[in-house]
Point group: C2
Chain length 223, copies 2
Amino acid sequence: MEMFVHDETPTAAVDQREQVVSALAGSVRDLVDATIRSTVADEELLAVRAGVDALVARLRTEQRPGPAGVRYNSEGRSWSWGNAVVGHGNAIAPPLAIDHDTERGRSRAEVVLGAAYEGPPGMVHGGVSALLLDQIMGETASGFKRLTMTGTLTLRYRRPLPLGPVALECWIASEAGRKVTVEASIGNADGVAVEATGLFLVPRWAPLAADEQPEGWRRSAEG
Amino acid sequence: MEMFVHDETPTAAVDQREQVVSALAGSVRDLVDATIRSTVADEELLAVRAGVDALVARLRTEQRPGPAGVRYNSEGRSWSWGNAVVGHGNAIAPPLAIDHDTERGRSRAEVVLGAAYEGPPGMVHGGVSALLLDQIMGETASGFKRLTMTGTLTLRYRRPLPLGPVALECWIASEAGRKVTVEASIGNADGVAVEATGLFLVPRWAPLAADEQPEGWRRSAEG
């Protein structure tokens, strides 16, 4: 199991790279959407494909051998640009920007889900709702003060959720020893579409208190 | 709520377009991966970005106003290229190719999950497992003979699942009237990582038998 990578890039340089990576990933997200919706002729799709392949070759001249992982430096900055939900460099991720109120154990996020997140016609894929909920619930359970792992996740689908603007809410329902129960929902202006309850566990080998955590633990709740 | 679109494209033309769309989306998937893993200089990332933007503009000269939806023709061919898990034209989808044994109510799928599906370092995002499971469970519950909607989905996380080749299994556990209970798992050669139980419902307004279904219902289990 790969773990957290200590990376001595200074925070200022990390921040700058993050901007560049975010800009590229943002354009790739746009390309994912355009690929789904385009109705141009076959020959033009194939010509665009050749263009994509040429850009891939340029990016691959220098690359990591595997996934991006989670990196952190001695200044306390950590980054996981490859994360499937919140990764700035991952075009699969919307990306979700989560606001945490760690003191009250509450979190929320708003995002617009486009054509790439479709399940039933015009609706957010039920599994996409589960994907986003899992991320916000894991982060909330961790509260960035302990390492937690998903134990059980239960999703109750109340009604279909149209593609477009959605909002997620999450809160800690109870805590006992190494067990943290979290509740959450995803919905829109018309109300809640999916409710979720999650049981998160602090592994036996991991410390319970923030000041006993190993370096790089901070983003461990992600995913 | 957008529904299924009757589209009189002949099956042969649909099949040909699907090949072209799949080819382009395959290259875009490769670009998503390369964007995550590339370590080329900032200026080169930004130059690649400009290239991506130019390709997006070419695709958008003719496009659908919204998501791809689910389309079907009078020959019984249906297609949902935008689906977030199985859509051939959606670079977010791996895409999952599901083998159904509708007679026995069983399904399975194998897929390789790369850097784009990362949660914890080197591991499949727990929400991605939920996303793929929701899709295979919905299709299995429907069995392509009735319209079903996800009611409740419960996921039990047994152990982390490394990125790489994974396999999904799914089967109908019980059926009673409008309720279908489905079980499923995702794992790899080392065993099961996540187990799932889902309760799927045939809506009261939808017929129970295959020969009473409206046109275009066939792919309704997707998502």
